[in-house]
């Protein structure tokens, strides 16, 4: 019974591929995977936009969209129709070809990145030996698309927005990649399937053996989340689109369906990077506790992804936009030293795995946690006091 549900989609695909004539099978298998990924994540995008708008509304004490359909459930459909029917405006002085190509170039690598993510047991489109590197290589192509969009629009705001976006993405790519290196170091593989497999098993027979349950893993996870937020240009790091100062950054001159494609690409990038965080730190499709192992693997992946989406919406509703110089300073002065130091902590964790004396486990945990927390606190205090941003006192407010 469990086997049936767990492997439902895998068997379904095999059945469909098997039913096709011999010559088609080679082509059909990847096509079905691609279509499934596209379908699932495009509908997840529609759902996320609705949940985000309603959730942000609730956070701001307003009801959110509730006019289209019952309780506003058809809002994504209305948005879609609106995006489709809007006039597609191309500025006269724009570089027409690049202006057209930019959304495509933006979406394609994001979709490619999904190829290496394991969504469940045996549910991965391509298991590259260097899957993690493939993911980041695909992510690197997005920067070029942002530049194309910004430059081809022939608008100073869009060019400025694109430059900001590129600077931000390059700066935050470093902590993003370095945060994953700890996991790669301990697993000894860049393949995401291997990384998930390394997180099988349980501590003390019930708690899953995820990397996030180690001190360095938790730190790397937090840094990864921050860098991922910045990579996907989400609040509070959505400076490239800063409406207040740049109208909409590289998206100024885009309208209609081209804009919608940028929007989709941004959200799909967010899902992809969340899925990567799940794979690296949260055990991929493994259940959190042994008692819940009876639920299918793809359910766990979906549940974790949903949790990430909710978290990102929560972040967007809570944190105000960061100032541009703080953004760069935060990446280079705070995250980068911490993440490099975190690699050292991961190495200490690795070399202390053989400790066998009494209380070794607790000592290892506390020692590594202290090795992360003390530099975090010291570095943070030092940076804050230098900028005069320490704990603030208000003269007039109570």
């Amino acid at each position: 019974m469990f086997e049936l549900f767990d492997q439902l989609f895998v068997n379904l695909k095999h059945a469909v591929v098997g039913a096709l004539p011999e010559g088609w099978q080679v082509l059909a298998s990847p096509l079905i995977s691609a279509a499934a990924i596209l379908g699932v994540f495009a509908s997840l995008f529609a759902l996320t936009v609705l949940v985000e708008r309603k959730g942000l509304g609730r956070i701001q004490n307003r009801p959110g969209p509730n006019r289209v359909g019952p309780a506003g459930l058809l809002q994504p459909l209305a948005d879609f129709i609106k995006a489709l029917t809007k006039e597609d405006i191309v500025p006269v002085s724009a570089d027409k070809v690049l202006h057209f190509l930019a959304p495509v170039v933006m979406l394609a690598p994001v979709l490619l990145a999904y190829a290496v993510l394991p969504f469940g047991r045996n549910m991965v489109a391509v298991d590259f030996d260097a899957g993690l590197l493939f993911f980041f290589a695909a992510g690197a192509c997005v920067e070029l698309a942002v530049f194309m969009a910004g430059w081809s629009s022939h608008n100073k705001f869009s060019l400025l927005g694109a430059m900001r976006a590129i600077a931000q993405m390059i700066s935050y790519e470093l902590p993003l990649i370095l945060a994953t290196l700890g996991v790669v170091m301990l697993v000894g593989s860049l393949s995401l399937v291997d990384i998930v497999a390394s997180q099988a098993g349980h501590h003390w027979g019930w708690l899953a053996r995820w990397w996030v349950f180690t001190p360095w893993g938790l730190a790397a996870f937090v840094i990864f989340l921050i860098a991922a937020t910045a990579e996907s240009n989400r609040a509070p790091f959505d400076l490239p689109e800063g409406e207040a100062e740049l109208v909409a950054g590289h998206l100024v001159e885009y309208s209609g369906f081209k804009y919608a494609i940028f929007f989709i690409a941004e959200y799909l990038g967010l899902f992809a990077v969340s899925a990567l965080a799940i794979t690296l730190f949260l055990g991929g499709w493994h259940a959190p506790v042994a008692a819940l192992d009876w639920l299918p693997s793809w359910f766990w992946f979906g549940a974790k992804l949903a949790g990430f989406i909710v978290f990102f919406i929560w972040v967007r509703g809570t944190l105000p936009r960061v100032r541009v110089d703080h953004l760069m300073g935060f990446a280079w002065k705070f995250l980068l030293p911490l993440v490099l130091w975190n690699l050292v902590v991961a190495a200490v964790w690795w070399y202390s795995r053989g400790w066998a004396f009494a209380g070794a486990g607790i000592l290892r945990w506390v020692g590594c946690a202290a090795m992360i927390l003390i530099p975090y606190s010291l570095l943070g205090r030092a940076l804050y006091t230098r900028h005069g941003l320490g704990p603030r006192t208000y003269r007039l407010a109570a």
Binding site: L98, A137, A140, L144, L159, I170
Partner: protein, 169 residues
């Protein structure tokens, strides 16, 4: 000659040719990125996954962006009436064609032409690459780290504004 090789080599060569002939510098840089992507495809076809993805990460993610930003920093993308080529450009093309022709002729004439097809399709597992980097190639790796740090500092120092230089309006 399989299809993948044909497609990727066409992309590479067309991208490179476009990058070297187009008038608009930004177009050139983007065509260059396309050529780098095609090369990554060729590497992938040859079984060198790690190099292919590294190529995309470094060339498309970093070098192409650097070139594009350098273009934006140095001059307007299009200057009317200015030739994109050096003035007597024919000798340059002649030398290029001659060298290419010689290379192709040599490849055609060499023993390689008669070498048998490779029977095994070797892969470069990431683990093996990592182990070799840490054992056989540890000295080059360290030197490379030093070189990259030096390049980083050097690039920052070169591009820094001179302290005496007045701020441009």
């Amino acid at each position: 000659m399989n299809t993948a090789l044909l497609i990727f080599s066409t992309i590479t060569l067309a991208g490179a040719a476009a990058a070297m002939t187009l008038r608009n510098l930004i177009h050139c840089a983007l065509a260059g990125a396309v050529a780098f992507l095609g090369l990554a495809g060729l590497f992938l076809g040859l079984g060198a996954e790690f190099v292919a993805f590294g190529q995309v990460l470094v060339y498309v993610g970093a070098v192409a962006i650097l070139i594009v930003i350098a273009v934006l920093l140095t001059r307007p993308a299009r200057v009317a009436g200015e030739s994109p080529r050096v003035e007597p450009w024919l000798p340059g093309v002649g030398i290029g064609v001659l060298v290419t022709g010689a290379l192709v002729a040599m490849v055609k004439a060499s023993l390689v032409a008669r070498s048998p097809e490779a029977v095994s399709s070797p892969a470069a597992p990431v683990k093996a690459i990592g182990e070799q980097l840490m054992t056989t190639y540890v000295l080059p790796l360290e030197v490379l780290g030093l070189l990259l740090t030096a390049a980083l500092i050097g690039a920052v120092l070169l591009a820094l504004r001179d302290p005496g230089e007045a701020r441009r309006p």
